[in-house]
């Protein structure tokens, strides 16, 4: 049994379940109350659950994210929304220096069972400070989980697993995916650290996550016309990373392209490439290609923004270079 729903509805359902099933769970974030959330994920929540469970927070990212951490240390199950990942920079000390560290440096006395939901990505014409993709930064921090769903099914399935974790999660939603639709299986639950092969293929592996999975699937469809059968691997979580699925696929196809939206230099894709060359070097028939953003701030003007971020055609071109 499955139901068609949007990415937004899937996340909304995950939040509803958390609030209905766990009296320790509460939501906190900017304009998640009467306004209904900047991306309308929490519409109607304020009216249904009231201000105790839906904490509409002042514009104080460090304070409310840190308060979420403290309340999680005290045994609650906060689900904190940072309106976009760009604003998470205002709370990064709390996330990196506190949420991710307190279990370890207390000698395992504290858990931080907190989900931080936030929104990544470019393509919405909101200019340089509102269009960034920092999920890769957070993936470099031991103590954090980083989840990057690309479909409604993955969003709900992963969210359900995140609720069972006793450590902080960066649950990173893509700004352009909220309206995307897909089938969601009843009772779906997806463990972290398990990549998904979104399309099977034999000639090349395209590895991606979040919105770029859509582009990768589009590219794979175009490549079919040229007789190239691409496999598309959706990482789904950056930390933990499913190395096994990546390597197994590359050993099968002997070629890989790693796609991500953010700037190339220092990007997460570099880590994936490093793992491939270490673990599957002898299987490679060509150097691993990367498709990533240009080394520029994201411009406002739409034609320029399109140039700055990867698109389907660039993925197709990268694959063709390898074959």
């Amino acid at each position: 049994m499955s139901t068609e729903m949007t990415y937004r509805q899937a996340i909304c359902q995950g939040l509803t379940e958390a609030l209905d099933e766990d009296p320790r769970a509460y939501l906190m974030g900017e304009d998640i109350g009467p306004y209904g959330g900047a991306f309308a994920v929490t519409q109607g929540f304020w009216e249904k659950y009231g201000p105790r469970r839906i904490k509409d927070s002042p514009l104080s990212e460090s304070a409310f994210v840190g308060a979420g951490i403290g309340s999680a240390m005290a045994g609650l199950r906060p689900i904190v929304e940072i309106m976009t990942i760009n604003f998470s920079l205002l709370a990064i000390d709390q996330i990196v220096n506190h949420a991710a560290k307190v279990r370890y440096m207390s000698g395992d006395q504290f858990s931080v069972p907190m989900i931080i939901r936030t929104v990544t990505g470019a393509g919405a014409s909101v200019a340089a400070t509102h269009s960034q993709s920092f999920e890769g930064w957070y993936a470099s921090v031991p103590g954090l989980y980083v989840v990057v769903p690309s479909t409604p099914e993955d969003a709900l399935g992963l969210f359900r697993s995140c609720r069972e974790l006793m450590d902080p999660v960066m649950f990173v939603e893509h700004i352009l995916l909220y309206g995307s639709r897909g089938q969601v299986s009843e009772g779906v639950k997806i463990p972290l650290g398990k990549a998904d092969i979104k399309k099977e293929g034999s000639d090349v592996t395209i590895i991606s996550y979040s919105k770029m999975v859509q582009n990768s699937l589009e590219a794979a469809a175009m490549l079919e016309n040229d007789g190239i059968n691409a496999e598309v691997v959706d990482l789904r979580t950056l930390r933990p990373l499913d190395v096994e699925t990546i390597i197994k696929s590359v050993k099968k196809t002997h070629r890989a392209v790693v796609v991500e939206e953010t700037t190339k230099f220092g990007g997460f894709a570099g880590e994936v490439v490093s793992i491939i060359q270490q673990e599957a070097f002898d299987y490679l028939d060509a150097p691993v290609e990367r498709v990533a953003g240009e080394e520029v701030p994201i411009p406002y003007s739409m034609p320029l923004e399109k140039l700055a971020i990867p698109d389907t055609q660039r993925i197709v071109s990268a694959v063709k270079k390898l074959i």
């Binding site: 509460y26 105790r52 904490k55 927070s57 002042p58 104080s60 460090s62 304070a63 409310f64 994210v65 840190g66 308060a67 979420g68 951490i69 403290g70 309340s71 999680a72 240390m73 005290a74 045994g75 609650l76 000390d93 709390q94 220096n97 506190h98 307190v102 279990r103 370890y104 440096m105 207390s106 000698g107 395992d108 006395q109 504290f110 858990s111 031991p142 103590g143 974790l165 006793m166 450590d167």
Partner: protein, 343 residues
């Protein structure tokens, strides 16, 4: 109301809400306060000795000179109340109930330390004792403390959270964000500024726009602010008795500034040459331990013999703590990988 007769610092409570209620301490409690202050001082003297011997590494920020605050404030709390603090955390940890042995072992980086040797001097933590930690990023502890208070408010459990901060943290955005948040949601928290006049090497008066009005900084958030003599254990205790009672009753947050002084530098690596000699000498006269001792003697609460005995007991306990720390094992290599995530 018990008051020290030797206090040389002018009271400044006249322009803030008056400290109306006496904490009415009995003799046993008064002596216990003195014993705790001496225990902290001995702990810090020993930690400095052990640092020079190479048994303690990294940063070591001692609390010597500020003991009256931890003892006066934390003794008002219940065991299940919460303390969250900064990196100069040894004194507060001891008063909240961490054993000197476990604290010293933590400084040594030993597996028997309260944080299993993984936190060190700046991260003493014992969740069971309600000592939720020393945190080493200036101001970083304020949001966490606000979260503990939020949890109490959410559960309606009547716990009070006491959040210590230094004068340096007043200039962090988190101070302002958290005062606002705590007031907006009426959280049961006391933000307690230990103003020791220096943020590392920088005089607070050079970095605060209004160094004489620290206790008024909360006014803009409609949070009552108080100033006390941080070297007067009884004055601190009086104020805290009143505030904790109010906050437990649902009054919402409060803010306290206690003026005090570090007898030593910022950390053990700091000779504190930036402090004028006159100033240092003036504050030496206000050392909270001898002045409280003089008050106890003058008011017939103790004899010199009792005082001497308390010092000996504290010295002995700290010697044992250091021996315990020295004899304890370092964490096993495999401990490197434990506690990153839940097992």
């Amino acid at each position: 109301m018990p008051r020290k007769t030797t206090n040389t610092k002018a009271k400044v409570a006249d322009d803030v809400a008056a400290v109306a209620e006496s904490s009415e301490l009995n003799q046993e409690q008064l002596l216990e306060f003195y014993a705790q202050m001496v225990l902290i001082r001995e702990f810090e003297k020993e930690s400095e000795r052990q640092y020079t011997r190479g048994n303690i590494k990294g940063f070591l920020h001692v609390y010597s000179g500020e003991e009256a605050i931890a003892v006066g404030a934390i003794n008002v709390l219940r065991n299940d109340d919460v303390v969250v603090t900064h990196y100069r955390d040894h004194g507060q940890a001891l008063v909240k109930g961490i054993e000197p042995k476990q604290a010293m072992a933590e400084l040594f980086g030993k597996s028997t330390g309260c944080s299993k040797g993984k936190g060190g001097s700046m991260h003493l933590i014992d969740a069971d004792k309600g000592f939720m930690g020393g945190y080493a990023i200036v101001g970083g502890q304020l949001p966490l403390a606000t979260g503990f208070a939020l949890a109490s408010h959410y559960r309606d459990d009547d716990k009070v959270t006491l959040c210590f901060l230094g004068d340096g943290a007043l200039n962090e955005g988190e101070f302002h964000e958290c005062l606002n948040l705590a007031k907006v949601w009426n959280l049961p928290i006391i933000f307690f500024c230990e103003n020791n006049l220096y943020g590392m090497g920088a005089p607070a008066k050079d970095h605060l726009a209004a160094p004489d009005k620290i206790y008024k900084m909360s006014e803009a958030y409609d949070i009552p602010g108080f100033r006390v003599d941080g070297n007067d254990v009884l004055e601190v205790h009086d104020l805290m008795t009143k505030l904790v009672k109010q906050i437990r009753g649902g009054s919402g947050p409060a803010f306290v500034e206690a003026q005090t002084y570090r007898i030593q530098g910022h950390s053990i690596a700091d000779p504190a040459n930036y402090r004028p000699e006159d100033e240092v000498n003036e504050w030496k006269l206000k050392d909270p331990i001898p002045s409280f001792k003089d008050w106890l003697l003058a008011n017939g609460h103790a004899t010199q013999d009792i005082i001497d005995q308390m010092h000996q007991t504290a010295e002995q306990e700290i010697i044992e703590a250091a021996e315990f720390a020295e004899q304890s094992p370092f964490p096993a290599d495999e401990e490197l990988y434990t506690g990153v995530y839940a097992e």
